[in-house]
């Protein structure tokens, strides 16, 4: 029982880290926790963290599912660019906004399906299968926008990027909804268990009667959908589609968020809400560096420092050392619980 508590405490260092980052932000900027109500929506640094962190959080939701199957999706940034480009071009050509949004999401689903087909049916390693779309995707996005930055003034698209619902910024609302739905789906049904089974051992899962191919297809398609959603948000936020820079390097932030969230990169153990918390930690750090007056160049250095710290804490070496140091005496005698 005692051991369970100890493990339970270990599972939640993310909250401690988030609190620590927020606390440091508060030290740097005393008004950090001030939230005001203005023009029917909330304003404040904390809300800004939620708002700016939403795209990475959404990517991280899809990425968590992919990583849980022992895969990785490098193409999400490129898919964001493609989805944004499709929506922007359609809207500027006079297509109704809802159709454009649906088309962008469909394109995201198709991109994910493509990745999934490469991984499942052609049996290519995920990192390489998605590398193809990562390399070609930005080219495709530029093909759609014909190389220029397509700007638009469509109210629906702009609402997705900058609007608000119940006082909360729209991106946050979307991210929250996706997180809740995805978590409920994987935890209230057997889907999460099946995903973990495929992540631990794909062939064993197949022998156990799980249709791992269908499951993998589903997971990559979902990641593509999430990427398209994030792409729409980013496009709506800047009121334009930038094929070169939309979502640039965000796949790495998303992977980082998932890792911070404690999802095992070796598959088989995952948590969607924790990945979202990880995305919030990253965004809180970004905001902290911005308001601290340090030049944004320190952003990457701090980020890498945090990754290194997390890696060291998660490594088998550290856990061995910790268990030797802190394990209660009975455990060391090899008594199993």
């Amino acid at each position: 029982m005692k051991r369970l508590n100890w493990k339970g405490a270990l599972l939640r260092p993310q909250f401690a880290a988030l609190a620590a980052v927020l606390f440091i932000n508060w030290l740097l900027f005393p008004g950090f926790f001030d939230i005001t109500w203005q023009d029917g929506r909330l304003f404040g640094s904390l809300i800004d963290v939620l708002n700016r962190g939403a795209p990475v959080a959404i990517l991280a939701i899809g990425m968590t599912a992919v990583i849980a199957t022992k895969g990785v999706d490098l193409s999400v940034g490129a898919v964001m660019a493609i989805a944004g480009a499709v929506a922007a071009v359609m809207v500027t050509n006079g297509t109704p906004a809802m159709v454009a949004v649906a088309a962008a999401l469909l394109v995201g689903l198709l991109c994910g399906l493509w990745n999934g087909v490469l991984v499942t049916f052609l049996d290519i390693q995920p990192i390489i299968a998605t590398l193809v779309l990562m390399v070609a995707g930005r080219g495709l996005a530029q093909l759609v926008t014909e190389g220029s930055i397509v700007t638009f003034s469509d109210p629906v698209l702009i609402f997705i990027g900058t609007g608000s619902l119940l006082g909360l910024p729209m991106p946050t609302v979307i991210a929250l909804c996706l997180m809740v739905i995805a978590t409920l789906v994987v935890r209230r049904t057997a889907l999460g268990l099946l995903i973990e089974a495929v992540g631990v051992n794909r062939s064993a899962a197949r022998f156990a009667g799980i249709s791992s191919r269908l499951l993998l297809l589903l997971v990559y398609t979902f990641a593509g959908f999430c990427a398209a959603t994030a792409g729409l948000i980013v496009a709506g936020d800047i009121r334009g589609a930038d094929a070169n820079n939309a979502g640039l390097w965000l796949e790495l932030d998303a992977i980082l968020a998932v890792v911070i969230g404690g999802t095992s990169l070796l598959g088989g153990r995952f948590s969607i809400p924790m990945a979202v918390v990880g995305a919030m930690i990253i965004q809180a750090m970004n905001t902290g560096i911005l308001i601290s007056g340090f030049s944004p160049q320190f952003n990457l250095v701090v980020k890498s420092g945090v990754i290194i710290l997390i890696l060291m804490l998660q490594s088998p070496m550290a856990s061995q050392w910790l268990s030797r140091r802190f394990a209660p005496a009975p455990l060391r005698k090899g008594k199993s619980t």
Binding site: K70, I127, G139, L143, L300, L311
Partner: protein
Amino acid sequence: MNRAMRPLLATTAIFALAYLAAILQFPAMLSTRVLGNFLTDNAFLGIAAVGMTFVIISGGIDLSVGAVIGFTTVLIATLIMWANMHPLLAFAIALVVSAAFGAVMGAAIHYLKVPSFIVTLAGMFLARGGASVLSPDSIGITHEVYTTISKSYILLPGGGRLTIIGLVMLAVFAVCMVLAHRTRFGSYVYALGGNETSAALMGVPVARTTILIYTLSSTLAGLAGIVFSLYTSAGYSLSALGVELDAIAAVVIGGTLLTGGYGFIAGTFIGVMLQGLVQTYIVFDGTLSSWWTKIVIGALLFMFILLQRLVFSASARAPGRKALWKT
């Protein structure tokens, strides 16, 4: 014919066919001028891709090479322009720094048992961040050594120019081919990529080899950075953005298996040349926009992955399905 060489031969044949098709359309592409420019323009990519080949043969991946190139260019530029250091001394310091960087990453991968993907991702953030902390702006380099190097070349028959940086790349490929296929270290790398546990049981010094592999990759990335700074005469923290992906693409196109344990340095050379060919073709064509380069390279990558699948499912002893990351 050695069965194991089939992917290399296939890559070479495809390159020859593609080049032939390009020549048929634009006869001007068959000249030593174009070939010389091929070598010069892709020198930094080629050098970085050689290091990546070693990493991938050992079953890992190095995402930090582009960032190390960027960092090296900025480091050299600051040392030369701000510290008034002689370029050769600056080059030496840059190589030492990048080697140490790789050694630390290799040690982290081995001792912390973290996937190379994540360690080198952290390394990428660190190197890019370090570069922009040194100087967020581009620094132009003016020094007589730079002008001398950029002006000296070997004139090939037909007016082509074999520049120093092109020669450096060829030398790196030659040395590393020997290193991979004719030395004990090379065998260790292949053994590690085949199966780390078996390699350890057979007496391969896993820790030392892992650290050396990433040191080699980072040192070559540092050298690529030097070449890049000679090529552009500037240091910029965002230079060589995404080169790691081009390098991985070159390695894959060159027939190296991403599961590790199998690959060729010579194949990587063809992979780099094929990417150069695509770029040159698009320049010659003139109507195709630059984004076609990305699409075509993506398509090529896809084609070669399929090719590998076919070749290996055709051969009797197909390498088994392996995890994406080694634990």
